[in-house]
Symmetry: D3
């Protein structure tokens, strides 16, 4: 499946080239491009998984990427509100703080 | 399946009436009914949070509820495939097993 | 239920004797016996940690042990209701199901 | 149940008003006020859930709130020591670091 | 047990063919075959990740696979004992229970 | 088992002396010294558990300790690449960032 012809390098290329290649070619090159789910749906699902797992370092990138993929700011806030119930208030609280910063930097 | 627009008793009423009331009135009565996010989007987000957190007991209900809310079976499978990368293969593997059963019971 | 003040063998002795010894002597023999926190407080904290981490297999023992240590059934139910907010509804939902069974078996 | 008459605004009001309202009115306005569990017990349980889930951003507030609710500094340290066993040494290690800072800022 | 050097269909092929292909070709076909880490090391690391995340459904397969890859039974028991400290006693307790069963079925 | 004669003080001695003693005497004094698993194996397992649980504060110490115990830099990178699949891409991504810093500080 994987066509290991080089596309572009990603953020892990300097220190973890194999992981970088898997990220660029398999994750972004193949999975995100599959038509079975829209990019907007993939972003909703990805942001939800990051918030639920408290993956604080990866959230800023995916909050911006979600907006590129058509999720509005109001929808991101509502997603966090919804997840307060399904991942707990602390996860939602941290997500609000990160989102506030991401929105401020990009307005 | 329960019609959650009715503010009737839910599954915790026998033993945890306060939690049941919060579930029926706040979570299903208010949050799920808010217009800022469609029910289909809420289901995508909820199922993603459950898979990412390995909440195996709550997944069957929400896989069925997601289908009521307009998520197709193919989309659910694709969501799990996507989450293999964002929550790890073990979480996806367990989600496949549960989904297989839920689909079989309802076909 | 096991009387943990006795430094006898515990449930891991058959297959994991070193872990068993650490459990019986350090965890139950020393830590649970320290006076800086009452056993009732330790049980509240332990049950909370188990629910928040979805440690479903260890919960039945500690729900019973908590009652031995002075936590009432109503307090356990209220603890779960409180944790719905701090660990998410799915964790609380599973805790209710396990607690219902534990209470039924011991009434 | 929820009386959606405004009480006071909380920390999410600027960007997530619905979550803020749920926090102020349902979580703090209702749940924390219920008599079925004392505020001291609720704080023990909340701090335990935060440590066990590695919710590092929410821990400072709840360490201070726990002291307001009657948990002593020695009891907080003992709670962390106990949770080293039930949530793992890394969670306890991080909790010690945060607690050290919180105590230093408030002495 | 499946011989994963063959790029045949795996356990998800019936319902999630894309995930199955990624599993067989990328995860088992490429990653597990990379020389930068021995299979024994990969098994230690995989079993540790499963125990730490309480991935109870995936543990039996990887306990057996670890033995195929040269991890002894005594080493698996010691790994669990070690992880009691790094992932908490409840995770270790569940791992002991699953390991006991896996060993019994294969002796 | 525990010989509570003082060895050396560790990082928690100032504020959590009992936890410090357990850490120095039981965890490092006994468990890490057991022969049933080499220190290199223990480090692989510990680093895997930390990455899988997103224990970001404890990772720098154990990345250095792993190198002392014979795990090479290339093996640490490969371990992270492997865990991208078993703990999810976000956990691996954060581990790469921390590892990059640790390697830079010690070269």
């Amino acid at each position: 499946m994987t066509d290991f012809t080089q596309k572009t390098q990603g953020p892990f290329a300097d220190i973890a080239p194999a992981l970088d290649q898997l990220t660029q070619q398999v994750l972004f090159g193949e999975v995100w491009e599959r038509r079975e789910l829209t990019k907007r749906d993939r972003s909703l699902v990805t942001v939800a998984a990051l918030i639920a797992q408290y993956r604080i370092n990866e959230l800023p990138f995916h909050l911006k990427f979600a907006q590129q993929n058509g999720v509005t700011r109001d929808e991101l806030i509502e997603l966090i509100t919804h997840l307060a119930f399904y991942a707990g208030w602390p996860a939602a609280s941290t997500a609000v703080g990160i989102t506030r910063k991401v929105f401020a930097e990009n307005s």
